[in-house]
Amino acid sequence: MDIQRSVGVSIRNLSKSYGKVKALNDVSLEVPPGSFTTLLGPSGCGKTTLLRCIAGLEEPESGEIWIGGKMVFGRKGAVCLPPKARDLGLVFQSYALWPHMTVKENIAFGLRIRKDSSQAVDARVGEVLHVVGLTGYQSRYPSELSGGQQQRVSLARMLAVSPAILLMDEPLSNLDAKLRNNLRIELKRLHSTTGLTVVYVTHDQIEAMSLSTDVAVMSQGAIQDLGTPGKVYHNPSSTFVADFMGNPYMNLVESETVLVDDRIEAHALGGNLRIPIVNYPIGPGKKVTIGFRPEEVSISAHGGNGKAKVHAVLSTGADLLVTLRSGDVLVTARVDNQSSLGMDQEVCFSVSPQVVNVFDTESGRSVNIA
């Protein structure tokens, strides 16, 4: 398929409320041309509202939206282009295929609206059906397709008109796990072969991690963190983002900074866990929250920088998730399958200091950002 024109989306100080609820609170976001930008967050965080504002299906109250250097919303609402003037496509969560039209008619709809010749329509329909792997399904009705096929048609319908931006609203959430994985692979290939700019909404952080070039984590109508999936995963900007990303979640442990021999250490679990803090602009005597991923915890019989009892051992197949208990705090470690650990066994564990995230306990913000 042809390489698409890559344009970016620029969102500036966008606000929108429903009654008293602020769905979007002064949101700004740059979607680079050719990127796969995911809006990630729990339900009700405003991600779908933001997407619908970009599409032109909702009208924000204030702020600006630019698509490829063209203002589509702005000047206090004086400029508000209808969806068709925004050169974009939107794939809906529930597919929104027209049940009274065949697959071909669904896909050809946009082409016929812009009055393409019937040969051009036929050719283009064939082309996009090939892209989504549904050649030969032209004359089926949507009710005769499986969920995964319906979503492919929904995608093909929007690809057919070659939009500059492709918006997707939780397109895979109605599908079963296996199908979802297959379609993820196809979406990833589609994005890299076409170079299309994609704005993707999901509440599934694994989906966000695996597909995106850029992730914007949203909560309560605001963007909490923005960056590459790796950045957001390893160095979240707040305890909210840390708690939301990853499965199992990041360990978040309350601690206090202590000056030990010219160095700052965070002491947690009643002194059972001591982590040196380097390269952080923080003094002693501060309440901080330490965050570290389960895979950054290792368990040993001796040594290490923490002590705990084995609380429970869960196997994921590939490896073990070990929950350690110290006092009433639980810490999760991901260790390889070879380890033999018994319940309530006393163990030592260590956390490698380079990957420790330090958050201000009060604000929940990352200390190195503040």
Binding site: P83, Q93, F109, G110, M158
Partner: protein, 615 residues
């Protein structure tokens, strides 16, 4: 070796025997299982009240009865004959003329009802027209009262001495005389049927319009379709199935309508198949009446079949949508109030005014004198007077009216409860045994009454229960017969509510009780019925309200002993006591509206009390 062989053979024989044995045991177990018994009972009852009567009627129309023997020399009773069919179906006055009239009236009323219903559905769901709630109420009002109330009002308003009638309201007020074709005949029949049946169209279309998944329209919007194109290519095709099924409903109802035509058509000698069934029956020509009734059923079945073919299974989609945001109403701009007033004015003139004048005319002592000085309560509470209406007393002091009222209530309530309970059983069989032959059969037979127009149903029941037959008691003139025919005709209503109620109850809820050892009876009374109660009550109310104003179904089956209110108005009409008829109709309207009000209150109560029940 030989011994070995023998024992092999005997083992084989044993095996074959036990295979058959096992099959028999399995079949018996299934048949005698609680589900098996329920489904058999449902199947037998349905066959008895629906299939058997139709079969007997077809049989009657194709055999010689005792009365016909003199027509065919040497024939015996029960001989097969095509005579009735030939004599009926080739006769212009007996069949072909009424057939043409039926098609004209049904098609005309359907088109008109769809237009009126469609316009009001569009106005109240998709625009910002004012007075929406009141408009919605007025659009439902015609359906809550008997269909021929409007016809009676129509006559009261437009009749005049020029058509051999007393002075109507229009002539009294303005001196104008409506042309005869506007007073009696196809035009007023079409208009009045449309007024009674447009609520169907209104309800179906407004449900379809407001139920469309807005994402379907947004998708077209994004692909560049204009507002008009979205309407034309997405919205309209999406509601087409709903539209067609509403049209079919109206069409088949009008086809079986008796009251309206007998009031507005018969005086002008305008007959349709429904009135033809009635008069042939009254003249004792049962075999020919049966033939006409069979034709009505076939006609109705053909139309339903065509409808199903047009919609087809591929396009059989529900438009009730998933998520989607609230639609912005189409702005009528500065014409808002103008459009609103015109619409309300239309409904006022065609719905409210006739009913008001009908009620008013029941207070006029002398027919045709609309002056205030003529007001009297005679027709309501007056004692018998020899020179007024053959000495009939006012309706509220007439014991036979009270008897009819009591009969109406008894018939409605018994039918409603029977239908409600049976609907749940059907729902149980159709939902829980989905895929089995029994479930498929039950589902199909429960639909059959839809294609039997009311008057034909009455004729069917008359023809089988009026003379002795195997397995059939003589029921003519009995209360039981009315309940039985109403039950049979209304079964499709509660089948719908019963099936949807059962769909909402997860099988696991019942299975959990089953595992704990609850018997089927316990499961039904303790688990299923309490959970299905909202559906049951909805079905009961639906049947009770529609049965209360039923006439076409009962008119052939009533005798003085089992007369219902609707039939009493008809009797008054036949003896020319139109004022009494109007008074009684007003009485029925008040009862119907009161019942509708109770239903509304209950629905409100239920929607507040029930939300936690089904997820």
């Amino acid at each position: 070796m030989k011994v070995q062989h023998n024992s092999d053979a005997s083992r084989q024989a044993n095996g074959a025997l036990s295979d058959l044995d096992a099959f028999m045991r399995r079949a018996t177990r299934r048949l005698l299982s609680p589900q098996g018994i329920i489904s058999m009972v449902v199947l037998v009852v349905l066959a008895y009240v629906v299939l058997m009567p139709v079969a007997f009627m077809i049989h009657d129309s194709l055999t010689l009865s005792g009365d016909d023997l003199r027509l065919v020399p040497g024939a015996t009773e029960g001989t097969f004959t095509m005579k009735h069919w030939i004599r009926t179906f080739t006769s212009w006055p007996r069949f072909l003329g009424p057939l043409r009239n039926t098609l004209v009236v049904s098609a005309g009323a359907t088109v008109l009802a769809m237009i009126i219903g469609g316009v009001f559905a569009w106005l109240t769901t998709l625009t910002d027209v004012p007075f929406k709630r009141f408009m919605g109420f007025l659009c439902m009002l015609p359906y809550m009262i008997p269909s021929w109330a409007f016809s009676m009002a129509w006559v009261e308003i437009l009749q005049h001495r020029g058509v051999g009638r007393p002075t109507g309201f229009l002539t009294y007020l303005t001196g104008l005389r409506a042309p005869e074709w506007l007073v009696f005949g196809p035009v007023p029949i079409i208009i009045n049927c449309a007024i009674h049946y447009f609520p169907f169209a209104y309800l179906t279309m407004s449900a379809a319009l407001s139920g469309i998944d807005t994402q379907l329209e947004e998708a077209a919007d994004i692909l560049g379709a204009s507002r008009l194109a979205v309407m034309r290519k997405i919205t309209f095709p999406l509601i087409t199935p709903a539209l067609l099924s509403a049209a079919i409903m109206v069409f088949s109802r009008v086809m079986g309508t008796f009251g309206t035509v007998s009031i507005l058509g018969v005086p002008a000698r305008y007959q349709v198949l429904a009135t033809q069934v009635y008069s042939l029956t009254r003249f004792g020509r049962m075999s020919e009446a049966s033939a006409v009734a069979v034709a009505l059923i076939v006609l109705c079945a053909i139309i339903v079949y065509i409808n199903n073919r047009v919609i087809g299974t591929r396009r059989n989609y529900a438009v009730i949508g998933g998520k989607g945001t609230k639609k912005r109403p189409f702005s009528l701009g500065k014409h808002r109030y103008l459009v609103g007033s015109i619409s309300l004015g239309f409904l006022g003139v065609f719905v409210l005014l006739p009913l008001f004048l009908l009620a008013y005319s029941s207070l006029m002592l002398n027919v045709g004198d609309w002056s205030l000085g003529n007001i009297s309560a005679h027709w309501w509470v007056g004692q018998p007077t020899a020179y007024l209406a053959h000495g009939e007393p006012g309706i509220l002091v007439n014991p036979s009216v009270w008897k009819a009222a009591w009969n109406t209530i008894r018939v409605s309530v018994s039918t409603a409860l029977l239908c409600g309970a049976f609907g749940l059983l059907i729902g149980y069989v159709v939902v829980r045994m989905k895929g089995s032959t029994v479930a498929t059969l039950v589902d199909a037979i429960a639909f059959v009454p839809v294609v039997i127009p009311s008057i034909a149903f009455g004729a069917v029941y008359l023809s089988i229960f009026a003379k002795p037959r195997p397995f059939v008691p003589m029921l003519y003139g009995s209360f039981v017969l009315l309940v039985l025919v109403a039950f049979a005709k209304r079964v499709p209503y509660t089948t719908r509510t019963g099936v949807s109620a059962m769909h909402q109850i997860s099988a696991e809820l019942e299975e959990a009780a089953y595992l704990q050892g609850a018997s089927l009876w316990k499961r039904i009374t303790r688990i299923l019925f309490p959970l299905a109660r909202p559906g049951f009550v909805a079905g009961v109310f639906l049947v009770a309200t529609t049965t209360m104003r039923e006439m076409s179904l009962f008119v052939l089956l009533m005798s003085p002993g089992n007369r219902v209110l609707a039939g009493q108005t008809f009797v008054y009409n036949e003896i020319g006591a139109s004022q009494l008829s109007n008074a009684l109709m007003t009485f029925i309207m008040i009862l119907s509206l009161a019942l509708a009000g109770i239903v509304k209150l209950w629905e409100k109560h239920a929607s507040q009390a029930q939300p936690a029940l089904h997820e």
